[in-house]
């Protein structure tokens, strides 16, 4: 299998081919053919990724595949190249693996669509996978950025997939615009890099001599700009509000793009640039603060949401905040670990919610559900596993990754740990609130819905089961050293890419056990509390503080007030005053002046020969007078 790395170009190429076939042939191909092509290309990429992963385990230096010069101007040379190393191969597995399951799930979930739209859906989905693979395989920031923009575009297309509903289009626009704000910062960072360092290939950038060219300010500015880019893509404060609205897209899209892969692009990018970030303590602190604030804010909002997908969306924002907290405290491996486990259980939860929505004929409001556990046993059990995993109960995957993050937060600052632990408790609470309201108690929907309730087809339930298994076992790759010596395989695997954190203060094993036990015990108490509160949920109106949370802290309204409306006003002012009065005034004024003066001058052309002659004589006299007086 030596030459498998020579074939890495196939990994992104196959989804691209799938995109072209499905996109161009969507009117001719039948739904089953589209589904087979769409899922098949991803499966092929997944198989290749596994071989690549096997190969990469033994490599100590990254494999670079150079294809052609993407940009070659003067001294600047940007090759179109792929870089395969431990970090990218891990992401390849997540993207193609989870992506494949979600493709399979989609064949059943989207089956109601017309063949044409079905083809369009799979074309977008394949294009997304292609872009995401480009993003993680790119050997320099420019290729990464191409993928970065590509996933943003696909996200836009898929959020607005049901484009006949105007509010969905608005959600798509919102996502796109907010992402663009971050992308601009990313682009400036790239330009800054080129200006100061002259190169942007990862292998060249992260060397001592290149880094010596950059001053401390340069590094801080570049890392901050990159982080702003990451806040856009990964939905952090202040650019997070697009992600909950992005739930307008089909549910499998939410699972793949807005939970498992695309939103983790920011984490990937920062983990990839970990050498730079480690050199700028200021940026690290900002990343940690933003991550922590986002995690807490989103978790509080999630407590009071009633839309099943909105809860999961805020939960995603909150978990992404956890990952940024890990990055900011220098625990890059923990962040990547959480990306991986989060991809499993959040994709599982989203697909589970999709299964519920499917069974409820499109209903998304959990207040109208209840008692679904008997009718949807597979969905219920897998959803339960997802909830346990995300809450962080051992030995499911979420426990290990969240524990790694909490530990690094504790080492950095016990206050961070306190807030992060509190957020983790909130996570457990709102996830089990969601579970109990949806699956326990009495059914609260209409009779028609109740009659129609059914377990999802196997194309949907099998991916759920696989993801549930992964959610259970996914954490074992990163068992803390304290429990099993040498259990933290992930750190060892990623060590060539991500240098091990070299913090001074070690923590004793007994203290580590205590922290784990504390968080687990508190989470269990939280779940009991949620059970007592929501096992027989009755519809109530939120009041007081709950109302503030239900309305998402009024952040959207705040943005509307301080950004959108002033911009609208400015636009209105420019339109009504600058455009109408000034610009049109000048243009029309010139026209009017010419018109008026020619109207007046026309009167001289009377046809009276006498007046012509008189004028002629008078002007001759005038010429003489001018000559006479001005000659000197």
């Amino acid at each position: 299998m030596k030459n498998v790395l020579e074939l890495v170009y196939l990994i992104p190429l196959l989804p691209l081919i799938g995109f072209l076939i499905n996109g161009l042939g969507r009117k001719q191909l039948s739904k089953s053919v589209i589904g087979i092509i769409g899922s098949g290309v991803i499966l092929a990429s997944f198989v290749l990724s596994i071989f690549v992963f096997m190969q990469v385990r033994e490599m100590s230096s990254p494999f670079i595949a150079n294809y052609f010069d993407f940009i070659n101007v003067g001294k600047l040379k940007i090759p179109f190249a792929f870089q395969i190393d431990q970090l990218s191969s891990l992401f390849l597995l997540i993207i193609t693996g989870v992506g494949f399951l979600i493709h399979v799930y989609s064949t059943a979930y989207m089956h109601e669509e017309k063949a044409e739209h079905f083809g369009r859906y799979f074309a977008y989905l394949n294009l997304f996978v292609f872009s995401m693979l480009l993003l993680v395989m790119g050997a320099n920031y420019v290729i990464l950025f191409i993928g970065w923009e590509g996933v943003g575009l696909c996200s836009y297309l898929l959020i607005g997939f049901w484009f006949k509903k105007q509010e969905y289009n608005k959600a798509a626009n919102k996502a796109f615009v907010m992402n663009r704000i971050g992308d601009l910062a990313f682009l400036i960072a790239i330009f800054w890099f080129i200006l100061k360092a002259g190169t942007i290939s990862f292998t060249d950038v992260f060397t001592a001599e290149t880094l010596a060219k950059l001053s401390g300010t340069d590094i801080t500015v570049i890392t901050l700009l990159l982080f702003v880019g990451a806040t856009g893509k990964s939905a952090q404060i202040p650019l997070y509000t697009w992600l909950p609205d992005a739930m307008a897209g089909p549910t499998p899209v939410s699972a793949l793009i807005h939970a498992a892969t695309m939103v983790t692009a920011g984490i990937y990018m920062i983990a990839r640039s970990n050498v730079l970030y480690s050199m700028s303590p200021l940026t690290m602190n900002i990343v940690a603060y933003i991550g922590l604030a986002t995690a807490l804010l989103a978790a509080t909002i999630a407590l009071k949401q009633n839309d099943i997908k909105k809860v999961l969306a805020y939960s995603t924002v909150s978990q992404l905040g956890f990952m940024f907290l890990a990055l900011g405290t220098g625990a890059y491996v923990a962040a990547v670990f959480h990306v991986m486990t989060h991809a499993f259980f959040k994709a599982l939860l989203f697909l589970g919610s999709g299964s519920v929505i499917h069974a409820m004929s499109g209903e998304q409001d959990i207040r109208n559900m209840g008692g679904l556990s008997k009718k949807l046993p597979i969905t219920y059990f897998t959803f339960l596993i997802g909830c346990i995993a995300i809450s962080g109960i051992p030995p499911l995957s979420g426990f290990f990754s969240k524990d790694a993050i909490l530990l690094s937060a504790y080492l950095k600052n016990p206050v961070f740990y306190g807030i992060a632990l509190f957020t983790a408790l909130l996570t457990a609470f709102y996830m089990f609130r969601l579970l109990f309201i949806t699956f326990n108690g009495k059914f609260r929907g209409t009779h028609e819905q109740e009659h129609h309730l059914h377990e999802s087809p196997s194309a949907m339930s099998i991916p759920l089961i696989i993801l549930a298994v992964l959610s259970i076992v996914g954490g074992f790759v990163g068992v803390p050293e304290a429990i099993i010596h040498g259990g933290d395989k992930l750190s060892a695997f990623l060590s060539p890419v991500i240098a091990a954190p070299h913090e001074g203060h070690e923590i004793s094993h007994s203290k580590e056990y205590f922290l784990m036990g504390l968080s687990t015990a508190l989470v269990l108490i939280m779940i009991m509390f949620a059970w007592s509160k929501f096992k027989n949920y009755q519809r109530t109106e939120a009041t007081g503080f709950g109302k503030v949370l239900e309305n998402k802290w009024y952040v959207d309204e705040l943005y509307d007030k301080i950004i959108v409306q002033p911009l609208h006003k400015l636009g209105g002012f420019l339109k009504s005053f600058i455009e109408n009065s000034v610009v049109d005034g000048i243009v029309n004024g010139v026209g009017k002046a010419v018109n008026y003066s020619s109207r007046q001058i026309r009167l001289l052309q009377s046809g009276q020969v006498g007046s012509y002659v008189l004028l002629m004589v008078l002007s001759m006299l005038l010429v003489f007078v001018i000559q006479f007086f001005l000659r000197k």
Binding site: Q605, S606, G607, Q608, V609, G610, V613, L614, V617
Partner: protein, 109 residues
């Protein structure tokens, strides 16, 4: 004879021409007045030429008769102008049976 007399005569002729052009409506009279103005200028040119002839030749043997040459030139141009102008007037008379220039304002329509 002092040059002043020539100048005064020229001015008189020229002013008569201008006033004639401005006040009369008969195209032929206007035409004659224009000729009058041209000849007033001719007279002045010849008078000045005669006056400065000796001094100009003293400075440059080939110079001195520019003024008189101009006069011939003006006469030629005037002759050409007369032929064209009279032709126009004839055509005008054929069309409107009048040589009153106030009828000419219809040209603009």
């Amino acid at each position: 004879m002092p040059i002043t007399y020539y100048i005064l005569l020229s001015i008189a002729l020229f002013v008569i021409g201008i006033v004639g052009v401005l006040t009369r409506r008969n195209a032929i009279i206007i035409f004659m007045c224009i000729e009058l103005m041209l000849n007033a200028v001719n007279l002045l040119l010849v008078a000045f030429s005669k006056m400065h002839y000796a001094r100009a030749v003293a400075a440059d043997a080939t110079a001195g008769s520019d003024g008189q040459l101009f006069v011939f030139f003006i006469m030629v141009v005037a002759a050409a102008e007369v032929s064209v102008g009279l032709a126009i007037i004839v055509m005008m008379y054929r069309n409107i049976h009048s040589v009153d220039i106030n009828f000419l304002n219809r040209l603009k329509h």
